[in-house]
Amino acid sequence: MHSDIVISQTDSRPMYLQIMEQVKQRVAVGDWAAGEEIPSIRQLAVALRVSVITVKRAYLELEREGVILTQQGKGSIVTPDPNLGPRLYHEELSEHLDEVARLGNLLGLSEEEIARRTKEATSRLTESRLAKEIA
């Protein structure tokens, strides 16, 4: 259930952030469904071969962000909110859009130019989807 979380030694980000990101991805795609029980801190630490305190840190932050709920002595579950998965995607989208705005600004592009480029990107995605369907 949880052995597919991978900690990268070459990823320079702290391990707890890597764990958080992968838990969020699982929740976003629905692999870990709302209300479902997730591995205990200790179970995940043993499976990933990282210290208990690192996983504890990740779970604390995930709880603060409303992704999981930890009940004293009962383990942790994914927050029983059916909109959680889409919400996580929306949050990720906002982060990427902020980054688009920042880079566009850095290049001195106008608002219209940035919007045009975003539209181009979505058109490209649609085109490549269509091409695949035809093939």
Partner: protein, 298 residues
């Protein structure tokens, strides 16, 4: 039972050319403590005192509720100890060692020992003297683990191991932790192993404990600030800066109490903060040792 597995209170031991000075140490049940120090820093002496092998001149030591060294016989039934100079009988086989230990330790788990033989790729009928260094470490670890001790004390367990054996050993150590009543203390100068599996980190240098904290707190509090100064600018004076490096207009400040406010303070003083870098445990350890040694000689 109290929830401290190991407790040192003001423990000192003086030798002619080395002394361990007022060591305080607390290790909670169920935790993993990484004990980091350079060669000769006092790691092994501390571990020997913990095991009752060396008697302290001053201070109190409690291990699993037993005062040491007075109660060492009782304590040792529950401690698995593996050190580099572990004496196994060279002429005897691993099977002989297992048969020797089984009647001594009531919790000896033969099924576990057999599964470790497979996972460590060890042959019970092989004589100890024919084993490689890595095999010998794994054999010693197997003998300690199969006793199902409540406390595992490992002096440099991964030193000199090849990458495959290192991973095997770390994996087995983590497997032990699935049971939350078991505690591990291990020393190493390989900070990477310690960084991966430890909850608590203790740094020792020249016979004194120089820092001890949760691993996540260590990684959170230490930062390197890379600055760009204006021409004729001066390095901003900030609290909790342990090291100033870099060159002329590009100073690098190392802090052990990072606060985001430091960045705005630098900016207010005319210095641009180019980057705030996180540090690895190894960098933290080295910076810690250097800054303390500098303070002592200053």
């Amino acid at each position: 039972m109290n929830d401290l597995c190991v407790q040192f209170d003001g423990v000192s031991k003086r030798y002619k050319h080395f002394s361990l000075e007022s060591i305080d140490l607390q290790l909670a049940t169920g935790a993993v403590m990484g004990f980091i120090g350079a060669n000769g820093a006092g790691k092994s002496t501390t571990i020997r005192i913990l095991m009752g092998l060396v008697h302290q001149d001053e201070g109190a030591v409690q291990v699993l509720g037993h005062p040491m060294p007075a109660d060492q016989a009782a304590a040792k039934l529950d401690i698995g100890f593996v050190s580099e100079d572990m004496r196994l009988y060279g002429a005897a086989t691993l099977a002989w060692h297992m048969a020797f230990l089984r009647p001594i330790y009531p919790r000896w788990d033969q099924a576990y020992a057999d599964s470790l033989l497979l996972r460590f790729d060890l042959k019970p009928e092989q004589k100890i003297k024919g084993l490689s260094h890595g095999q010998r470490v794994k054999a010693a670890l197997l003998l300690a683990l199969a006793r199902r001790p409540r406390l595992l004390v490992l002096d440099e367990p991964t030193t000199g191991l090849d990458p495959v054996a290192r991973v095997e050993v770390l994996e087995e150590l983590m497997a032990v932790l699935a049971d939350e009543d078991r505690t591990i203390l291990f020393s190493s100068h390989n900070t990477k192993d310690v960084e991966q599996i430890s909850d608590r980190i203790t740094f020792i240098d020249r016979g004194r404990i120089i820092d001890c904290d949760d691993k996540e707190s260590f990684l959170d509090r230490w930062r390197r600030l890379r600055l760009v100064l204006p021409p004729d600018g001066v390095v901003p004076r900030l609290p909790d800066i342990v090291q100033v490096g870099g060159s002329g207009r590009l100073p690098v400040l190392t802090t052990n109490r990072f606060e985001p406010a430091m960045v705005s303070v630098c900016n207010d003083m005319g210095a641009t903060v180019q980057a705030v870098d996180t540090m690895t445990l190894e960098e933290i350890f080295v910076a810690n040792v250097h800054s303390r040694r500098e303070r002592l000689t200053a």
